[in-house]
């Protein structure tokens, strides 16, 4: 049975390469049909904000990569409820369908379900 990997993405989308490169790990895993999960927490939830305009920074739109997750067979996508709430965001107004984890305990239980974890 394939080993599973959870990628925890904690950085905001335009703070450097972390958001993009953590997503690349997830997409590569999906391309190889591996069991991959993706959790957005802390500033990583800002990647889920609607109506971002990365062209103002001459950056590529990460939303396209997020939308590609489904095509690559990555469906286990989560967001930390506390991180969203702290940042004035809520599950209904995001740019992606995610599974909302309202309690911190949900996150430790999530991590426990995976063989490996990478927190960027």
């Amino acid at each position: 049975m394939a080993k599973s990997l959870l990628v925890i993405s904690r950085q905001a989308p335009w703070s450097g390469l972390s958001a993009r490169e953590s997503l690349d790990i997830v997409l590569a895993g999906g391309a190889f049909d591996l069991p991959i999960g993706l959790l957005f927490m802390d500033d990583g939830v800002f990647q889920l904000a609607q109506s971002q305009a990365p062209s103002a920074l001459q950056q590529k739109d990460l939303t396209a990569n997020l939308k590609a997750l489904e095509m690559f067979g990555v469906e286990d996508i989560y967001a930390c409820g506390k991180s969203l709430a702290e940042r004035g965001m809520f599950p209904g107004n995001l740019n992606l369908d995610i599974r909302h984890l309202p309690q911190e305990q949900d996150i430790s239980e999530l991590i426990d379900r995976y063989d490996h974890v990478i927190t960027l």
Binding site: S108, I111, D112, D115
Partner: protein, 99 residues
């Protein structure tokens, strides 16, 4: 199933320790290395936050980092060298480094 969380950033400059403490499972452990060792600095909020959990959280520190920073180790912290670090990574089911 238990996770060894590895932290290397100073808790005074950074929110990783705070975030980590919020989501620890009840069998998880913490390894402090690099500047995360400053979390053990005396009479500080991070030390208090760890001390509050001392009975139910295993806290390890990489000995070379504590030594370099002249950090006094409380009795509830276990110091490990690199072979000890390897042993911890085997003892726990997975290692989550907060990059």
């Amino acid at each position: 199933m238990a996770t060894l969380h590895v932290l290397s950033h100073s808790p005074f400059a950074d929110s990783r320790l705070t975030s980590c403490l919020r989501l620890l499972g009840n069998k998880d452990a913490l390894l402090l290395c690099g500047d995360a060792t400053y979390a053990l600095a005396q009479a500080t909020a991070p030390l208090q936050a760890l001390e509050d959990r001392a009975g139910r959280l295993e806290v390890y520190v990489l000995s070379e980092d504590a030594q370099a920073r002249n950090v006094t180790l409380p009795g509830w912290v276990k110091s490990v060298d690199y072979p000890g670090f390897v042993e911890l990574s085997i003892r726990y089911d997975r290692v989550n480094t907060w990059l």
